[in-house]
């Protein structure tokens, strides 16, 4: 799939510009998620504070890109793959903005957790889960940047692993709270951070689904992974480095 096959050079530029803005927004959101996780894992109060206050740029980008998309629809009346691009962008930026929200939430809890010394025991589980989620996010943005449906479909289904991690962490948290009730408040906050991570994974999956829609022209939301793979990817897709 290629963007910008129009006789109007200006129209090509507009579409390309929208895509670039989404990539920029994605980069910003990814960095916020990374920083929020870093603040959480390293109990870095100052970093947490910075991330908790840094959501506005992302919000503004969402509004701007939305406006630009509406303008292009009204002015250029896009069809076929151009229209899919614009519709996918409108959806993707909603997910990006919400990933930004979740990063902000993690940062807010991290601020409170940074002053407690008793969460170190949960670090290894949390760090494992975070790594998984941040990789999913990175790969989904990468799939969007390269309009890579194969890359996108490889990411679908990874939320199952995230759910397993979340279950493990929840069990650990319960043990931890039972051992010493003074840990309850912190553990509850850690559990909310974990749920925010789970949401980020959900949003990353949504982005992948829009990439597939964009490239293949098929809406694969709410469709089983087996069905998607056999119907739209009848060839073998390597499973990456795993």
């Amino acid at each position: 799939m290629e963007i910008g096959q129009h006789i109007s050079q200006r129209y090509n530029e507009e579409l390309e510009d929208i895509r670039n803005q989404v990539l920029k927004m994605g980069g910003l959101v990814e960095s916020q998620a990374e920083q929020a996780v870093k603040a959480l894992l390293e109990s870095d109060f100052e970093l947490a504070k910075a991330v908790a206050n840094g959501d506005e740029a992302v919000n503004q980008m969402e509004v701007d890109i939305d406006e630009e998309c509406t303008r292009v629809i009204a002015r250029r009346q896009p069809t076929a793959s151009d229209l899919r691009l614009v519709v996918a962008v409108v959806k993707v930026i909603t997910d990006l903005e919400r990933i930004g929200d979740e990063a902000e939430k993690i940062a807010r809890y991290s601020k409170k957790l940074a002053k407690k010394q008793n969460i170190t025991r949960m670090h290894s589980e949390l760090s494992h889960m975070s790594q998984l989620v941040l990789t999913m996010l990175h790969d989904s943005l990468d799939a969007f940047a390269r309009l890579d449906a194969d890359g996108a479909v490889r990411i679908l289904g990874k939320d199952q692993q995230v759910n397993v991690e979340l279950d493990n962490l929840s069990r650990l948290l319960i043990t931890f709270m039972m051992e010493d009730p003074r840990h309850i408040k912190s553990a509850l906050r850690v559990s909310w951070c974990a749920r925010s991570l789970e949401r980020i994974a959900d949003h990353a999956q949504n982005i992948c689904e829009y990439v597939i829609y964009l490239v293949k022209g098929k809406d694969v939301r709410h469709t089983s992974l087996e069905h998607i793979r056999s119907k739209y990817f009848p060839y073998d897709i390597e499973d990456g480095e795993e």
Copy 2:
């Protein structure tokens, strides 16, 4: 604002049809949220089970309405308020679908909680918060149905009350867990239900913002409530029955 001022009768019908489908989807989602809350508060295992499995119809509606919107953009090349309607619908149904997801989550936790007898003490707090959230959802759908920007702006800001309720409930949960560690697991599940309720309130707010965008043509996301009120609603808006 009126829909259907076109010479093409078919086009008018298409726009009206999209709007009706959204209202239908909204009705279904609202009923799922209500049922999920009922299952939670009444420890009704069977009802919880039914809600936990009833998400598919909502998902299918989202896909269908999305397709219909893309088709209308491609075929009718809507402009001005018609374009805003279509764009708002594309956004609103994403929120509706996610409210359906949250209802499903509440139902899933309710299934597990239904077998525990120890959550009754949290009922009054939970029922208060649920009522607030369900009313917000109902009123936001109502504002969308009647394209009522005044109604929508009245709902904005109510998430602050939901946050207060959430804080109260969290404090209660912590006390509850401290008193008896055997309550920890259930209390954790209740806290997750509460967070799902909080999200439903967030999504209801989003819907209100789209209603304002639709009617006033202004994107009011990420704008302070004071600013919205003074700029776009310079007249007095009654605060309802409160």
